[in-house]
């Protein structure tokens, strides 16, 4: 263009504010990385100083105790995700494309669940998993997670299936496809983007959760999840070596970072729709 921009005071101030916001946003995370590369003594004595020399030991030591919880988190998220996707696809399709008695009533009963705060369900759900004798097993996490996470997914999937053009289903019906055939061969392949959205939003919610695991998993460390270990640490249980903890935090963040970064578009979409509908 070649047109020189006028440097006004407003221009300078607005740029400075952006830089300030960026620095304050990044500061805690830079400090975490800094902590993870220093031995404990250096964290208390020289908090702001850069690691010199870089102390990689934190990471190798942290891996030893955090690897299993991270794996547990991934395992729980994976199994739950599998069931959530199946249930969401089935229910979303039924409510979006099928006609049956009681459809409206049942659907509004699902919508109403959105109003119940998670906190209120903690106590009764604890009694339910206790009654099912699954406390201290992964099922104590998986089953309530599937029950809770499906709701948002069904709402998303229902509107997706409802808005699909009817012609393709008509054509398939004429070709002799049954209800199940249409679901499996037409609806499923088309619904990939919406199911990815549902999947990523629920995985983030499940991986991030630490309140329910602290209630449902009270036994040994070998069944605890990553965020639960972090939370326990906040409560003063576990090691006091802060460099080690910082390294463990970074290791446990990586799986979620990879998962969300690779489907960020879908994640944001899911949250936006959730924001409008919820």
């Amino acid at each position: 263009m070649g047109v020189k921009r006028k440097i006004t005071p407003g221009y300078v101030v607005s740029r400075l504010v952006v830089i300030l916001l960026l620095i304050t946003t990044a500061f805690p995370f830079l400090m975490l990385i800094n902590m993870s590369l220093k031995p404990n003594v250096m964290i208390t004595n020289d908090f702001l100083g850069l690691p010199n020399p870089v102390y990689w030991m934190n990471f190798s030591k942290a891996l030893k105790f955090i690897f299993k919880p991270v794996l547990n988190s991934i395992y729980v998220c994976g199994i739950s995700l599998f069931f959530i996707i199946i249930i969401v696809a089935l229910s979303g399709y039924a409510f979006g494309r099928m006609e049956f008695k009681g459809r409206k009533v049942l659907y509004s009963l699902i919508l109403a669940v959105m109003m119940i705060p998670y906190t209120l369900l903690i106590i009764p759900n604890f009694h339910i998993v206790k009654g099912l004798h699954i406390v201290d097993t992964f099922w104590a996490l998986i089953i309530p997670y599937v029950a809770g996470q499906q709701v948002m997914g069904i709402i998303l999937a229902e509107s997706f299936f409802r808005e699909l053009p009817g012609d393709i289903f008509e054509a398939a019906r004429i070709d002799g496809a049954g209800e199940f055939g249409m679901f499996a061969r037409i609806a499923m392949p088309l619904s990939k983007p919406i199911l990815i959205t549902v999947g990523i939003t629920s995985v983030v919610a499940m991986y991030n959760d630490y309140i329910w695991p602290t209630i449902a998993i009270t036994g040994g460390d070998n069944v605890k999840t990553f965020c639960q270990i972090v939370f326990n640490n906040a409560a003063g249980k576990g090691t006091n070596d802060m460099g080690l903890i910082a390294a463990a935090f970074i290791i446990g963040t990586i799986p979620l970072l990879i998962a969300t970064a690779s489907c960020l578009k879908y994640y944001v979409q899911g949250m936006m729709v959730g924001a409008v509908k919820g």
Partner: protein, 287 residues
């Protein structure tokens, strides 16, 4: 005949897993919570005594006061800073730079929230963190045991996550601003509008629906969660930073008094429902 019956049953088969799970983990559960709220520690029916006790419980009343402070601050910060950041970003026309800034604001959102909370807990540590910075700049008088001092604890909790830009709310405002049609700007440029005119006359009126979404979301988030307080002060010192949801959790799983805890939960539930309805009504009125 048999086939039609089967065909009629197919939809119910599809929704069966959902219905069963919700019947148990939502509807039975909420009924159970309400029922439990009328019982005492040994499951005897005691009527509304738990509710009467709740309104005479000094801790519960303080909890509600703290919750008001936390929620008002949370809603304000959730609107102000993300909107500020997306406005500033809007006027950066250099594609690469604005793309970099957006990424820099979004990445921290992908870090587990409990990790972010714990980083802040370290920054509030009496021996290092913010206190190191204060010491470096010679402001020794400002050094506090932030989370353990009754005067600063609630304030410190409210500021966790400052400047509150990274995350969903920023993305909502950011995409909201970019959704405004080009023709409005063209007209403004013809009229010789300054950037400030653009913000005041085009952005703020058009971004209103997004502001309402953010207000509703941050309101519900702030009212129903208690993880942040549980992980930082656990309600202390004393009960200076106690909030209703955390108190409910502690009464249930600490003291084992599920009846009283359920009553606290039901009260909180009613407050949330009421506020959600009010905010929805406001949301609808504007459209």
């Amino acid at each position: 005949m048999k086939k039609t019956f089967c065909a009629k049953m197919i939809p119910y088969l599809f929704i069966a897993p959902t219905v069963i799970l919700l019947a148990v983990f939502s509807y039975y559960a909420i009924g159970n919570a309400v029922f439990t709220s009328f019982t005492d520690k040994s499951s005897n029916f005691i009527g509304i005594r738990n509710y009467v006790d709740a309104f005479h419980d000094e801790m519960f009343l303080t909890s509600f006061k703290n919750q008001v402070v936390i929620t008002v601050a949370a809603v304000f910060f959730s609107v102000f800073f993300p909107l500020l950041a997306s406005e500033l970003l809007f006027f950066i026309k250099h594609k690469k730079i604005s793309g970099f800034i957006r990424t820099a604001f979004v990445i921290p959102m992908l870090v587990p929230s409990i990790v972010v909370i714990l980083i802040w807990k370290y920054l509030y540590n009496p021996n290092f963190g913010f206190n190191t910075i204060l010491q470096k700049i010679g402001a020794n008088g400002w050094i506090h045991n932030w989370l353990n001092d009754e005067k600063t604890a609630l304030f410190a909790i409210v500021l966790i996550g400052f400047p509150f830009v990274s995350g969903m709310y920023f993305l909502i405002f950011h995409s909201g601003l970019n959704m405004i049609g080009e023709e409005l700007y063209e007209a403004a440029i013809v009229d010789g509008a300054t950037n400030w005119n653009v913000v005041k006359d085009i952005h703020l009126p058009n971004v209103k629906p997004y502001t309402k979404i953010v207000v509703t979301l941050s309101l519900i988030n702030s009212l129903s969660g208690f993880g942040l307080v549980a992980a930082t002060t656990n309600g202390g010192p004393g009960f200076a930073t106690m909030i209703p949801a955390l108190q409910m959790y502690k009464v249930a799983f600490g003291d084992g008094n599920f009846g009283y805890a359920s009553a606290l939960g039901v009260v909180l539930f009613l407050v949330i429902i009421l506020l959600t309805m009010v905010s929805r009504k406001l949301l609808k009125d504007g459209e």
